[in-house]
């Protein structure tokens, strides 16, 4: 019987059909999905902080409205994804607890600080650009609710990337000081952006099984290469350079060659040693704890109303 179910699952996945919430699925598939989608949801929620840092100091009302809308989108993306994990039997409270206790991870990119307003532009362009590279293939991931959430997210990410690039174009038309600020920001974010695709394929322990289950559609290195190829002409048009002396066009391969990120730094940040790890989690914990009375009051209000309605009926 179990073999039968497994065979049907394999066939569904192989035929590019989607697995849906109430279908039978292997435990490992369910666990991998919950881990990956929760990590992705946590990234969206923690990702509100570095940019939220600049909302009150945005240089114009236009930029402030855009930034507010973008940060609100990140919250929305987190919620689409938490909703997808719940179709797998995960519990929302439990996921939040695991995040603030450091038992589940989020993307390391958000452990870097946003030092200048140019960072808002560079995050939109490069960080959201890298996220789009990662996410577009996930619109075809084998688990239905995850794929549908990714379709919604990708539509909205395009606004994020374009507002960032436009912001940077505006700064590049400004003073020399503003242009220097953009270049400095690009220098700080380029390598962390490349690390967003995860460790090199040879060291990526989850890739093989995830590809077989069609959760993941491309390897880390394939996506990283694609991102470099896409970013180079954008940097040229903008008038900035990337801080990598090995970065150059390879005629033979028809792609750009590029250097390796500092993987020691990557692992150090993953393990909690980044500039902002503690601050990000402390802030999330405080927001959760400060909101407790609101959650309790709303629940009490709903319970009281339910009793009243019952009495009236």
């Amino acid at each position: 019987m179990a073999d039968d179910l497994e065979l049907r699952f394999e066939r569904t996945v192989q035929s590019e059909a989607r697995i849906e919430p109430r279908d039978w699925m292997p435990d490992g598939y369910r666990k991998t999905l919950i881990r990956q989608i929760a990590q992705h949801a946590h990234s969206e929620i923690i990702g509100m902080q570095p940019e939220g840092n600049w909302i009150s100091r945005a240089p114009s009302l236009r930029r402030k409205a855009i930034l507010l809308a973008k940060v609100q989108d990140e919250a929305g993306h987190g919620l689409y994804l938490y909703s997808a994990t719940e179709t797998l039997g995960a519990d929302r409270e439990d996921l939040t607890t695991k995040l603030i206790e450091g038992r589940q991870k989020y993307s390391s990119i958000f452990n870097y600080p946003t030092l200048t307003f140019a960072d808002v532009g560079v995050i939109g362009w490069l960080v959201d650009g890298a996220a789009i590279c990662n996410q577009v293939p996930l619109c075809r991931t084998s688990y239905g609710p995850y794929a549908r959430a990714m379709i919604r997210i990708c539509k909205e990410e395009s606004f994020h990337q374009r507002q960032g690039y436009e912001l940077l174009m505006t700064m590049m038309r400004g003073t020399q000081q503003q242009r220097d600020m953009v270049q400095d920001s690009v220098n700080r974010w380029w390598w962390p952006a490349l690390m967003m695709f995860g460790p090199p394929d040879a060291e990526s322990t989850n890739t093989e099984q995830s590809m077989a289950w069609r959760i993941k559609r491309d390897t880390n290195d394939e996506l990283r290469q694609k991102f470099v190829n896409m970013s180079m002409p954008q940097a040229e048009a903008l008038g900035v350079t990337f801080p990598d002396p090995e970065l150059k066009w390879n005629e033979e391969r028809g792609e750009y060659d590029f250097g390796a990120p500092d993987w020691d730094e990557f692992w150090q940040v993953v393990k909690g040693g980044g500039v902002c790890n503690e601050q990000r989690i402390a802030h999330r914990r405080k927001a959760h704890e400060d909101g407790a009375w609101v959650r309790e009051a709303a629940a009490a209000h709903a319970a009281k109303n339910a009793v009243r309605e019952e009495g009236a009926a």
Binding site: R22, D73, A149, A292, R295
Partner: protein
């Protein structure tokens, strides 16, 4: 005190003339808050003109395990489809 809010399934009508379609779920203390939260989470870019929220516990679904027997009665009734009937080519409007 556990204050975990119940789960609501959200359905959105994209525009007049279309059915409400399931878009996802959210947590809210009551139906009114579920509607407001659904507006903020699922219709930030004019994706809808009408929203339904339904307590997730109120939905009864067919079981995927019985998918084949459950839908089998429709399988062998080809005579329910218009293409089952052979009509001469020269008969118009049929």
């Amino acid at each position: 005190m556990s204050t975990s809010w119940p789960l609501w399934e959200v359905f959105v009508r994209g525009k007049r003339g279309l059915n409400h379609v399931h878009v996802g779920s959210l947590h809210a203390p009551d139906a009114e808050m579920a509607l407001r939260n659904a507006r903020d989470v699922y219709t930030r870019r004019n994706e809808g003109v009408s929203i339904w929220v339904v307590p997730a516990t109120s939905i009864t679904a067919s079981s995927p395990d019985e998918k084949d027997p459950f839908f089998a009665p429709a399988g062998d009734k080809v005579y329910r489809h218009p293409t089952f009937y052979a009509i001469p080519e020269d008969v118009p409007h049929l």
